[in-house]
Amino acid sequence: MDSINSYLFISSMLFCLGLFGVITRRNAIAVLMGVELILNAANINFVAFSKFNGMNIDGHIFSLMVIVLAAAEAAVALAIIINIYNNMNTINIDDAAELKR
């Protein structure tokens, strides 16, 4: 099983799972994890492409970058979520709906 398609298949599965998670989860953390899945789906693509198409290593670099940024993003997100927890005692993002009109 060494064709690129399987990788792509997995990555797209991941993407869809991430999507699903983002849309269905109510817990902010879980939503964030969904996002992570999406990012990693992309990462798999990058790595797979750059390996199988036998090209430059841009893909690898890219995925590294993504990981770093994802970490940063997660950090910020978690900070905010904690802050919300301090103020509202909940991290259920449905409760964070007072900003409607």
């Binding site: 983002v22 269905t24 449905d94 009109r101």
Partner: protein, 685 residues
């Protein structure tokens, strides 16, 4: 070019009254006697000038005498309007009539209107009235004629509404103006038809190109003629626009005299006479019938009226019918002749009635009786010995209008009837015209004498006031005597021999009929020929009908041997029709005015309540309900209005969209995904 008195004097005659109008309207109140002397002075001057012109005419004694002058009013290069005056025998005679009657009115009013609230305004308006009438008389082109035409309308509006505190007066004035406007529309359309074909407004070129025949002919010309005639229908109160004239009696009596004799109603006939050459045969036929119908209807109405002025009013309408009939049958000089004679005796009749009413007023005032109508003949009777001058003068005029020989009316009316008869002889299909004409003549004689008997003969019907009835002062009797005298035939047949039968005279010599400009129509000579053949028969007949009418009147109202009540009961519905003026006003009101007003109201409703509210603001109203539910914040301004149009739609759809904006993160993300999918799907096709 304005050097000869034949131009300057007419101009003076034209503008002096205007000047007095301006002076009086602005400074009238400040002048001594509220400046009536200004008006009287100016008008008398014009009269003297007119007399001078008249004498000139008689001395030169030239049938084709004609002068003219004009100045360019509008000049856009191709599109030009020149305003000018045309002075010929017709004009001069007409000017004489107008100024004479007008002067009489002015003098008469000195007494009659004494102490009126708006004395100066009254005289000012008289001036305006005279001015605009002279404008019509002197016009040498359609535009200035139309302008003066309208001005006559407005000055009559002002005079009829002189006592505007009375609603009846206000209504009458409005009615007069609007009815005239209807006619004027036709007039204007006629003008446009002529101009668009001929390209000129001045009479002479119009006549030329019509006789040329290729510029305009046939149906168009007929329509143009009829359109212009419509103006006359309005002004000369012909059927079906005659309704305004009787109401116009709301104005002061001298005004009625002026209006009925010389200025307003004469204008229509004068215009027909002036523009006779443009009327095609078909147009003339229509005109003739209109005239005949008017004559008979009005005469029938006059029989049963009890208001002395109303009777006179309808008699005027009827006489105008005669004139128009004459124009229609081609003997238009006869029409003008009748206009002349009629002016004199009708003016006189009004003055007489005026003086009667005046003294009635006085008497009623003495008796502190304010409910009795001073104009109702049933309250009069036996005034003969109390006011002899009035009586005899009025009698003379009555004889004249009845068409008794030796009086002016006989000559003119006879000429008309002859023309009518000749016309019928030429084309027998129109036998109805003479029939109507003669019967109208008979009825005229009847109701006029009815008036005389009811007013002056018999015994007084109101003893209590009878003692206070007395002759009017000489400011009033003066004109009465003068005009009464002018009802004798003699003044119109000078300087020819004194034989009334084969009358030649300055009039017939100087006012000679011209040929119609319309190709293929009878020449003036032919018409005269036929008229001459029919002459003796016509004269006999008219004598007979006049006699019959007078006799009947004598029997009914003098001898009382025939009871009028019985008669009226026998012909009940006829009586009622006549008494109610054939229900013209009622029907117009029901079938014209009211629907029109309803139309106006509904249109305005359509515009404001419907178009604006539901169409412009349509979206708004459509979606109001939604917005009530979901539109929580629609501030004022969104409620109605076009904005509101936008506003509503927007607020509603806005609300919808805003509800998408749930504030719930997942929904947002869901929407994003959905959005992408939508785009993808959209691209699939």
């Amino acid at each position: 070019m304005i050097e000869s008195p034949m131009i300057t004097f007419p101009l003076l005659i034209l503008f002096l009254p205007l000047i007095s109008f301006v002076i009086l309207i602005f400074f009238g109140k400040k002048l001594p006697r509220q400046g009536d002397w200004v008006a009287v002075g100016s008008i008398v001057t014009t009269f003297i000038l007119a007399v001078y012109l008249f004498v000139q005419m008689l001395t030169s004694y030239d049938a084709n005498f004609s002068h003219g002058a004009s100045l360019s009013w509008i000049d856009m290069g191709a599109f030009k309007i020149d305003l000018g005056i045309l002075v010929d025998n017709l004009t001069i005679v007409m000017l004489l009539i107008v100024t004479l009657v007008s002067s009489c009115t002015h003098i008469f009013s000195l007494e009659y209107m004494k102490g009126d609230v708006r004395y100066n305004r009254y005289y000012a308006y008289l001036g305006l009235f005279t001015f605009s009438m002279n404008g019509i008389v002197l016009a040498d082109n359609l535009i200035s004629m139309y302008m003066s035409w309208e001005l006559v309308g407005v000055s009559s509006y002002l005079l009829i509404g002189h006592w505007f505190e009375k609603d009846s007066a206000a209504n009458a004035s409005k009615k007069a103006f609007l009815t005239n406007r209807v006619g004027d529309i036709g007039f204007f359309i006629g003008i446009m038809l002529l101009y668009s074909a001929v390209g000129a407004f001045t009479f002479a070129p119009i006549f030329d190109s019509i006789s040329g025949g290729e510029a305009i002919a046939g149906m168009t010309l007929t329509l143009a003629g009829l359109g212009i005639f419509m103006g006359a229908v309005g002004k000369s109160s012909q059927f079906p626009l005659h309704i305004w004239l009787p109401d116009a009696m709301e104005g002061p009596t001298p005004v009625s005299a002026l209006m009925h004799a010389a200025t307003m109603v004469a204008a229509g006939v004068y215009m027909c006479v002036r523009l006779f050459p443009i009327f095609t045969a078909d147009a003339l036929t229509v005109i003739a019938y209109i005239g005949a119908i008017t004559a008979i209807l009005a005469a029938l109405t006059a029989i049963t009226q009890n208001d002395i002025k109303k009777v006179l009013a309808y008699s005027t309408v009827s006489q105008l019918g005669f004139m128009v009939l004459a124009v229609g049958t081609g003997v238009y000089t006869a029409a003008f002749f009748h206009l002349l004679t009629h002016a004199m005796f009708k003016a006189n009749l009004f003055y007489c009635s005026g003086s009667v009413i005046h003294s009635m007023h006085h008497a009623l005032h003495e008796a502190h009786d304010h409910d009795t109508d001073p104009q109702d003949m049933r309250n009069m009777g036996g005034f003969r010995e109390k006011m002899p001058i009035t009586y005899y003068s009025m009698l003379i005029s009555t004889l004249a209008i009845a068409g008794v020989p030796l009086f002016s009316g006989f000559l003119s009316k006879d000429a008309i009837l002859a023309g009518t008869l000749a016309f019928a002889q030429q084309n027998p299909v129109h036998f109805l015209l003479p029939l109507l004409g003669f019967s109208a003549a008979a009825i005229t004689a009847f109701y006029m004498f009815r008036l005389i008997f009811m007013t002056f003969h018999g015994k007084p019907n109101m003893k209590n006031i009878f003692k206070d009835i007395h002759e009017s002062p000489k400011e009033m009797t003066g004109p009465i005597v003068l005009l009464g005298a002018l009802s004798f035939f003699i003044f119109y047949t000078l300087p020819s021999n004194f034989n009334p039968i084969k009358d030649k005279g300055w009039f017939k010599d100087l006012i000679v009929p011209r040929n119609s400009a319309v190709p293929g129509s009878l020449t003036a000579n032919e018409i005269a020929e036929y008229a001459h053949y029919a002459h003796y028969l016509a004269m006999g007949l008219s004598l007979f009908v006049a006699a019959a009418g007078i006799l009947l009147a004598v029997l009914m109202y003098q001898r009382q041997s025939i009871s009028s009540e019985k008669l009226s009961n026998k012909f009940g519905f006829l009586y009622h029709w006549s008494y109610n003026k054939f229900y013209f006003d009622e029907n117009y009101n029901r079938y014209l005015y009211q629907p029109f007003l309803r139309l106006a109201n509904s249109i305005s409703w359509l515009d404001w309540e419907f178009y604006d509210k539901y169409f412009i603001n349509g979206f708004g109203k459509l979606t109001k309900s939604f917005s009530k539910i979901s539109g929580k914040f629609d501030y004022d301004g969104i409620d109605q209005g076009l904005v509101d149009g936008f506003g509503r739609v927007s607020s509603v759809s806005g609300n919808f969209l805003r509800n998408i904006q749930t504030g719930r993160l997942q929904n947002y993300l869901l929407f994003v995904v959905a959005g992408i999918l939508v785009i993808i799907i959209a691209q699939a096709f």
